[in-house]
């Protein structure tokens, strides 16, 4: 394990955390956009309550990814910024409008027209941001971003291709799936419902949405896999031909099946854990399949490394920061997500 490998692992872990926490917040925005039926207003309120206290903290994972990348692997950061200029600018516009509109809605006039206007910006931005994030990741994995003498080669349109765009759609669907699964748990105490049906109507709404989004995730994953054979050959090989490929796919598949089973059985906490595991495994699978490349195929963890002194200092900083960060995060979730914020068990209802 070189410092570069450890830092690569830290970046991947931060991406996974961003997907699990920040990603779900974007997914919440998607369900705000798609709120329908007799309980549309309740659905939006639930999303708002779920996001309010935590979205800013969840968003910082992305900032952490960026700063670790530019400190530990500056040539990769520079090349990625050059090559993916357009999707990253759109991602930023999405991030800015999502956060600002969400906050403005909370503090603006409560009448419907005003709330709907902010809500529309919030939810549209919540769709654009994951699309662009996924497209950028897809472009990096595809091997279409070429780096010549340290500079991203023109024309910088690596992201305009089937595979990156499908990965973008996949990311948006995945975040929506994750959010819907989380919201089933959040709906349960908010709406006692009928006996044996925790959450009642509101939880059922998100259960249906989670299942539909899950199907979309599956289809888009299939499409991405098919496209990757031609358009992302290195990652395709990484996903299929390495010794850990099969166990990883089996684990991801098992998590997906467990999430579906949990949803169908209305075991929402179990479903949430399985869905989170599924998303984490997907991120790990992406990282493992393109290891040791940061920008496939021209920059590796090794070739893009900052001097060793920087990487070692950065690792110490990350370690020290984590000691402060994780207890604080636990406190945040403990305060706002109930007594057992990460529990997998649904207690029998009294």
């Amino acid at each position: 394990m070189t410092p570069a490998d450890l830092l690569g692992g830290a970046i991947l872990a931060s991406v996974a955390c961003y997907a699990l926490l920040g990603g779900a917040d974007f997914g919440g925005g998607v369900w705000d956009l798609l709120a329908t039926g007799p309980r549309a207003r309740h659905q939006r309120t639930l999303v708002e309550h779920a996001l309010g206290p935590i979205w800013e903290a969840n968003h910082v994972w992305l900032v952490l990814v960026v700063v670790v990348l530019f400190t530990g692997f500056p040539p990769a950061f520079a090349a990625i910024s050059e090559a993916l200029f357009a999707p990253l600018v759109l991602l930023l516009v999405g991030i800015v409008l999502r956060g600002a509109a969400f906050t403005f809605r909370a503090y603006d006039r409560p009448d419907d027209a005003v709330q709907r206007r902010w809500g529309w910006i919030f939810s549209m931005a919540s769709v654009i941001a994951p699309l662009m994030l996924g497209t950028s990741v897809g472009a990096l994995a595809s091997g279409r971003v070429r780096v010549e003498e340290g500079i991203a080669a023109a024309p910088r349109l690596a992201w305009v291709a089937g595979f990156p765009l499908v990965v973008g759609a996949f990311t948006a669907a995945l975040f929506a799936f994750l959010a819907a699964t989380y919201l089933c748990v959040e709906a349960a105490p908010a709406d006692p419902g009928e006996a044996g049906r925790p959450g009642g109507g509101l939880a059922d709404d998100f259960r249906t949405r989670a299942v539909l989004a899950g199907i979309a995730v599956f289809l888009l994953a299939l499409a991405a896999a098919v496209l990757s054979r031609r358009q992302a050959p290195l990652v395709y090989r990484g996903l299929t031909a390495r010794p850990w490929s099969l166990p990883l796919h089996l684990a991801t598949g098992a998590a997906a099946v467990a999430a579906f089973a949990g949803l169908l059985a209305r075991r929402y906490r179990a479903a949430r854990l399985a869905a989170a595991a599924q998303v984490a495994l997907i991120v790990v699978g992406w990282g493992a399949s393109q290891y040791p490349y940061l920008v496939v195929p021209d920059l590796t963890l090794e070739s893009a490394s900052a001097p060793r002194a920087t990487q070692v200092a950065l690792l110490w900083a990350l370690g020290g920061g984590a000691l402060l960060l994780f207890p604080s995060l636990w406190l945040l979730f403990r305060v706002f997500k109930g007594e057992r914020p990460f529990s997998a068990m649904d207690r029998p209802r009294r």
Binding site: V60, V63, V66, V67, F70, P74, F77, A100, D108, A309
Partner: protein, 447 residues
């Protein structure tokens, strides 16, 4: 416009926008924590009301600061990949540590804003204190990076490449303390005065409002203390610049000739073509005295330096004059406030003329802050990293930067309008009829 100019405009617009919200993010939590602490001590309901209302304002402004700060972190690479390739490993450390400070700020602001009824009183107050402290810590780390751009350290330059990188010494380049101090004080002064200005305006209409009087007291105490200390920290900064960036000092002061016993120029317009500064009020030997604490010290003029390392002299000089002038005004208002409050037996002064002066001073802190930021950025030109890398070498090879420039400018204008409208709404929502019964004896003391 060239792409380089668009890149500079985009970075400048983004920073000029973000800097307002980040300064508020540093100082506003302090104000709201002081208000809550007063409430816990006195039990007076208008203190609680104040803490809650300030917290709402902080929430709106912090959210915009958080997302606009994210834009900046990406723009470092989107606009200046050459800079990041070179400087990332050297000054990435303070940015990474700032990431954790930002985490703490966001986590505990969430607990503070949404936790009034969910956590105990001590944890709530402590959360607010953590937000205030981590806000200051964020500013500290980010300013370290800027200090390094002014005085690169912690590496050896060999054939245009950085070797022997020491990220820890790079974090603390010469002059870091002065710059950090100056930035932190400017955050407290600008925010304190902006808040004080709003409440002074309301107090002129409702002189009996305890709510606005308490608010004015806390905001003036924080903003005024910072404004009085700021000239001292400015002196430290100016002497640092005199030692390490003489060409920047010469631009600040419009000093073209190298001179023993150089005069201090107040106002005036430098004319780089004629190499002289016209229309300034000159205080003999003033500059030598201020910059080196020696009336006979030699001050190097712009003439000593090749024309191609001159900053944009006129703009730098004018921005510097604006910053110093506005800062001096604020310090004067602060001292007047102190004197008036002492005469009133340590109560918040509420004379109409004084309130008018405070209301007029409201925007000046932020104007001074923006001017000061322009001074340091323009004053470092044509370099991104002083003496090491020119801005033109740092810029991205991506073309058509007009598009992102206009997109982000439109977004910022939209956000600015929305924020102003929302804050006006928040301020208007403060009840006009005060909790205190008319004619009731005033028992409250000024903070």
């Amino acid at each position: 416009m060239t792409d380089l100019l668009y890149a500079r405009w985009l970075m400048g617009t983004s920073l000029a926008f973000h800097i307002v919200f980040s300064a508020v993010g540093v100082a506003m939590p302090l104000l709201m924590v002081v208000a809550e602490w007063r409430w816990r001590r006195t039990g007076a309901p208008h203190h609680l009301d104040l803490a809650r209302r300030w917290a709402k304002g902080a929430a709106i402004l912090f959210a915009v600061g958080a997302v606009s700060g994210t834009v900046i972190s990406f723009e470092l690479g989107l606009l200046w990949p050459g800079f990041m390739r070179f400087a990332g490993p050297i000054i990435g450390m303070p940015f990474s540590l700032e990431g954790f400070a930002f985490f703490a700020e966001a986590i505990f602001l969430g607990i503070y804003l949404y936790g009034w009824d969910r956590v105990g009183p001590r944890l709530h107050l402590a959360s607010g204190a953590v937000v205030a402290a981590s806000g200051a810590l964020s500013a500290f780390f980010v300013t370290l990076a800027n200090a390094w751009m002014n005085h690169p350290a912690g590496f050896d330059l060999v054939l245009g490449r950085a070797t022997d990188v020491s990220p820890i010494s790079a974090m603390f380049p010469p002059g870091w303390l002065h710059e950090v101090l100056h930035v932190l004080l400017s955050c407290y002064a600008a925010t304190g005065f902006a808040v004080a200005g709003i409440h002074a305006l309301r107090l002129r209409r409702e002189p009996r409002s305890r709510f606005h009087r308490t608010a004015l007291g806390i905001a003036l105490a924080v903003g005024g203390a910072a404004a009085v200390l700021q000239p001292l920290s400015g002196d430290l900064s100016a002497r640092q610049v005199a030692r390490t960036q003489p060409v920047k000092l010469a631009s600040l002061e419009g000093q073209f000739r190298t001179e023993r016993g150089a005069p201090l120029r107040i106002g005036g317009i430098p004319d780089p073509a004629a190499r002289e500064t016209r229309g300034a009020l000159e205080i003999p030997r003033g500059l030598s005295l201020l910059a080196f604490h020696d009336p006979d010290a030699v001050v190097r003029g712009l003439d000593d330096f090749p024309r191609d390392v001159w900053p944009p002299v006129r703009r730098v000089h004018l921005a510097f004059q604006a910053m110093v002038g506005l800062g001096t005004l604020l310090a004067a208002v602060s001292i007047a406030a102190l004197w008036l409050s002492w005469r009133a037996g340590w109560r918040v002064p509420t004379g109409r003329r004084f309130l008018g002066a405070v209301a007029l001073s409201g925007p000046l802190g932020f104007l001074a802050l923006e001017a000061g930021w322009l001074v340091t950025e323009w004053g470092r030109q044509p370099f991104t990293i002083w003496g090491v890398m020119r801005t033109s070498e740092a810029v991205t090879p991506v073309r058509h930067l007009a598009a992102p420039f206009w997109i982000f400018t439109a977004v910022y204008v939209f956000l600015a309008v929305a924020v102003v409208a929302l804050l006006r709404r928040q301020i208007a929502a403060v009840p006009h009829v005060d909790a205190a019964a008319p004619g009731a004896p005033e028992t409250e003391t000024a903070p």
